[in-house]
């Protein structure tokens, strides 16, 4: 399978690039820690309810900041070179996969840092890890595609926020509900239904991204 090989190569290229430059990842880390520091100094005592909402808000902004760079950190000429070498959808899928990994690591990190300063109210470990994984997948697909769109316009950051917030709200609301469940804040019997909604939304979004990206990358 040509496309799978391309995806693997592009994926490992992205990972190596991140480690070598380490500029992006350290910027994000600094962002995460300063946000959590500010939250801790202003709240001191964080209730589980508030913990849940704050966690996802931090994740939302961290994800946007992490992903907005996907398509702009490399120069246009180098991107053109990639498009000449590989299938454009392979490039998009590799970016989505890489961002899933990045966001999952970041959310574990945010969770750890948050637990360190504000306590860890998570009751069901497996459910919470599953939720942050689903969250990373959903955020990654939406934000990567929107980053691809906003990279075409030059005023990136504003457009990124305007386009992606409304698109991500349904995902975010389901995630907050799921993680409230994992925190023992509410007894929800329809967890599988929520998980199914998330997976369905993710599938729809990735299918659309897959279909539409060939029209997007060309300049």
């Amino acid at each position: 399978m040509q496309i799978v090989r391309e995806i693997i190569h592009l994926f490992s290229k992205d990972v190596r690039l991140e480690f070598r430059s380490s500029y992006a990842i350290s910027g994000i880390l600094l962002y995460v820690f300063s946000t959590i520091f500010i939250i801790y100094t202003s709240f001191v005592q964080v209730q589980p309810q508030v913990w849940n909402v704050l966690f996802w808000i931090i994740m939302l902004f961290t994800s946007i900041n992490a992903i907005v760079k996907s398509f702009v950190q490399e120069s246009n000429q180098r991107q053109l070179y990639y498009y000449a070498l590989a299938n454009p959808t392979a490039i998009l899928l590799a970016k989505i996969l890489y961002n899933i990994l990045l966001l999952f690591l970041l959310s574990v990190l945010v969770w750890g840092a948050f637990a360190f300063v504000a306590g860890n109210p998570v009751r069901q470990l497996g459910a919470f890890v599953g939720t942050i994984f689903l969250g990373s997948v959903g955020f990654s697909i939406t934000f990567t595609f929107v980053a691809a769109i906003s990279a075409k316009a030059d005023n990136n950051a504003t457009l990124m926020a305007i386009l992606s917030f409304p698109l991500v709200i349904p995902i975010l609301m389901t995630l907050i509900k799921l993680s409230a469940n994992a925190l023992g804040l509410l007894q929800d019997t329809a967890v599988d239904q929520d998980v199914l909604i998330l997976i369905a939304i993710d599938l729809i979004l990735v299918a659309m991204a897959f279909l539409l990206y060939p029209f997007l990358w060309r300049d």
């Binding site: 595609f145 769109i149 075409k152 316009a153 005023n155 457009l159 305007i162 386009l163 917030f165 409304p166 698109l167 709200i169 349904p170 609301m173 389901t174 329809a190 239904q193 909604i197 369905a200 939304i201 729809i204 979004l205 659309m208 991204a209 539409l212 029209f215 997007l216 300049d219």
Partner: protein, 352 residues
Amino acid sequence: MVRQSWWKIAAVVLLMYTLLAGLLFPLKPGVLEVTPNSGRTGEEITVEITGYNSFYKKGEDSMRVWLKLDEARSLKARKIMVWGDRSMEAVFSIPEYLPVDRRVQDFSLIIDNDIDGAVSLPSAVFITQDSLDPEMGERVWVNDPIISLSADTGIHFPFRNILAETIRNTYFHVPLWFAMVFLFLGSVVYSVRYLRGFRIDDDQRAAALTRIGVLFGVLGLITGAIWAKYTWGAFWSWDVKQNMTAVALLIYFAYFVLRSAFEDPEKQARISAVYNIFAFVTLIPLIYVIPRLTDSLHPGAGGNPALGGEDLDNTMRMIFYPAIIGWTLLGYWIASLVYRFTRLREQHLDLV
């Protein structure tokens, strides 16, 4: 000329029809209030009934009133005093014991006469039992079966207690939303056509349709908020349906921001076509799937049927379906004007 614009004429005719019929047909007679709405067993209770759109005076001779316990059992009023078309009093003797083992039992009120037809108010009167003895109640119960109800004559919309006259909003709020989805659908079709052929006018048509779709969406939101004020008690109650609707409109507002971010018309057309398709696909779970799965006040949520059952009777269907077609055609008409205006402005700017 006529052959080309038959659908515009159809839009005007259908909308005139729905506006006139939807606003002018009266509601069915109903019961607004019953006082007192509670009593005890063994009592003789006199309830005052306030009607709506009713003609008690005219139908006095054939007037009958029941308190209905269940499908098989009911109590007939011993005496009825009609004070006016909208007000009367009925006297019931409640037996010492009821044939049920609940302390408080609710009764529906059924009124029947030749003029108004049969009218009912569910859970109109609550009777508290002094002591429970269902078997004794069974023995002393004197059943007055509800028989030979009169048929309703004339064209009426159904009377619903919470909705009352606001039921007419069904011809505005709901069809506007249907029309909005049809407009967005048309817009997606043009966006797909643009991506297949790269003709700039396909994209301009898509933009015009989206513009009018958003306009209809905003109107639908406003009519919905007004309706919510009268039925749920507040313009905005952070109901999941309202929230998702607001998010859906935000997604489409973002479409216009995106369009204005590009200078190059070809790039603008291509990227907004891509975003338009993406937005429409996310719109469907947003307004049709998520609200159905969570609890909501809105019909069509938490397993409630959105339309159908008793909510939409045949008289309403006669106006509701034409209203959907009428609003949709009007939307396409406005969109075609917007599109032509865009074209003309562009041509003139090119000439200058």
